[in-house]
Every structure is written in C-alpha cells, then in structure tokens.
Symmetry: C2
Subunit: 200 residues, 2 copies
C-alpha cells in the first residue's frame, strides 16, 4: 500500500495540541497491530511531516520551539493537508503567501482538513463556501458571519462535507482517528487508539 503523505502546516503561535494531536495519531497508525509494528514505518499508512513558510524554527503557543520539516518551497506532494489553529491564526488570515499556498495545496491534495480555528484559514480562501463546517466554540460566530454560505455545525466534534473541519484543539485527535478509519478501516483506527491509550 502506498503511504499517504500528511502535511501539517505550522506557524508561530500555532496551538500545540492542534498539530501534535493529529501528528501523534496519524504517525502512530499501523496496519499491522501491536507494539512491534511501531518499531518501523513498514506498516505505517501515513507519512507525516510539518511544513511552514520557511524552515526557521517556529514558537508554538506556550513557547514550544519546533523546526519545520519543510518550507512551502521544498515540501513534497501532500495527499492530506492539515491546517491547525491557535492564537497565531489571525496574522495568517491576511498573509497572501500563506493563503496562496493553502489554495494551491488544497487544489492538489486528496483531502483538506482543519483543526480548531484553522477552519478560518480554509474559509478565507473559499474552501468552505456552501459547506457544513465547524471550528473552536469561541469562533463559531465568526465562521458564521463570513457570508460565505457556510453551514456552521455547533455540536459535532468534526464535520466532513468534502473538507474535514474539527472543533477546538483536542477535537483534532478525534478527527485524526476518523481519517484513519476512512483510509484504513475501523480496526486500524481502534487498534491505534488502544496503542496510545485513547478512549474513542
């Protein structure tokens, strides 16, 4: 089975769990169950990496310093784009370079997803026009006010209407398990949840 690449966009003041939750879940999935299979990437259905505007270290919310694996310029092809949120989302909303990159990658990717206020970024490039979507509870009204025909879901942990959006921070973990289930089946998702001791 060809591995799917997952490109996680990171930026200054990205919320830690927004990207680290899905990173953990998707990078630890294995189609062969057990602890042994986690010692190599052989049965890993996903190849997960971080991408940022440049390869300079970013400081996530709280100060966690992360070195991006790739920049916009040298990132490999992305099958699944994941856009997290956080306090640093706002400056990205007006950043033409970022918006162009998201637009371009989303057009090429098999699937585009967001966690938390990352949905605002997807909305800003028109990806959520006319779709059902969700975001952090504190930003539901903002998503609703964008006048883009977005049908805001105020109750679900995540919503898949072509584009997959999740509710706040920790909901990205649940969305990641949904992605595993979709691409690899329920057993692989459940076994990965068991491996990382996450009660689905």
């Amino acid at each position: 089975m060809k591995k799917l690449t997952v490109g996680i966009f990171i930026f200054d003041q990205v919320e830690v769990l927004d990207f680290a939750g899905p990173y953990e879940v998707l990078s630890r999935a294995r189609t062969v169950p057990g602890r042994e299979s986690r010692r190599s990437d052989e049965s890993a259905p996903f190849t997960v990496f971080t991408v940022a505007r440049s390869k300079s270290p970013i400081a996530a919310v709280g100060g966690l310093q992360v070195i991006p694996d790739y920049s916009f310029k040298d990132a490999p092809d992305i099958d699944i784009l994941l856009v997290p949120g956080g306090a640093g989302t706002r400056p990205q909303l007006d950043d033409a370079l970022v918006l162009d990159w998201i637009r371009r990658i989303a057009a090429e990717a098999k699937q585009t997803t967001s966690v938390c206020t990352g949905a605002l970024l997807l909305a800003n490039v028109g990806l959520l026009d006319g779709r059902r979507a969700t975001t952090h509870w504190g930003s539901l009204d903002q998503l609703d006010s964008l006048d883009r025909g977005i049908v805001v879901d105020r109750t679900s942990r995540f919503v898949d209407d072509g584009i997959v959006t999740s509710a706040g921070v920790a909901a990205g973990i649940d969305m990641a398990f949904y992605l595993i289930e979709q691409h690899c089946g329920r057993d692989v998702a459940d076994e990965t949840a068991h491996y990382i001791d996450y009660p689905r």
Copy 2:
C-alpha cells in the same frame, strides 16, 4: 500567586503526545476563565518549559523536531518534573547523566510525574520503590518485574502515590488535568478542559 514551573524532559524518540499533551494542558490553564485570559500569561498558574541533555534539537517519535528550551546545565528551578516515555526511553535507562539529573531534580521538586514508559525511568532511579504506580499497558509487566516493591496499577489512567504516574500516551492529558485540579482546584481544571474542547 507564584507560578509553578513545570520542566518537561525531552529526548530523541520521545513520544509526541506524551510531552505535548501535558504541555498543552498545563500551559493553557488560567485561573481567570475565558478566551481573553489566554492572550497573556498573567493568570497562568504554570510556567511550562522543555529540558534536554543539551540544547541541540531532538527528533521525537515520527520525526517531529523540537528545540529544547533548556539543557540540564541551564534549566531554572523545577517545581513539577514531568518525564514522558516513548521508544527513546530505553537508551535513557542506562544513561548515568540522565539518571543523575532525574534523581537530583526529583529530590528538589515539589512533585515528580511521568507519562507512559517514563515511569520506567523513575523506577530506575528508585523513585517508585514501594509505591503504587502505572505505565503504558505494554510495559506493566516490565514495571512489575523490577523487584522494587512497586505495586503496579493495571487499570487506572493515572496513580498518585507521592509520585504521579500515568498510563499510556493519551493518559498524560488526564494526569495533567489532575495536576491542575490539585494545584488550582476543580473549576480551573474544568474550565481549561472546556477551553481546549477536551471531554473530561
């Protein structure tokens, strides 16, 4: 209120969610509820940072590259020590520099905690002798076999018997909320869970 410092030990092949889960939870706690209070550290009860053997970047499980905030040599005083686990735990178990550091910091800290197989490191320096403790389900037998009088808890998400140990990976998130509850009360823990959309 004086902030409590939380020193999170990181190392090559540390499990991402082991450190990033508690990092998120503890760094986003606020004694003043709401989104506004998260814009500054004013009402943050904890100051969270990462510490490693040196300040060179580490590669967590899956490849996530993190720059440690401090090395063993220059880390500030640590009130709460958090030792995560992961595939990289094994090499740490024989590393005198690491074991000495954990022993020294644990002796000075108000509280010592572990996530997942981080418990094996605490056990190796004698911190769990005669105590109830837990670890990742795949390492419970190993913890039990150490002949240190550790009473292994095979069912709890986390155990506090002077030293606080948690079960696998995601259980560190639950342990982090317990720490908030202990130091700041139930309301602060619940409000932080609501903020990050985590169902406690």
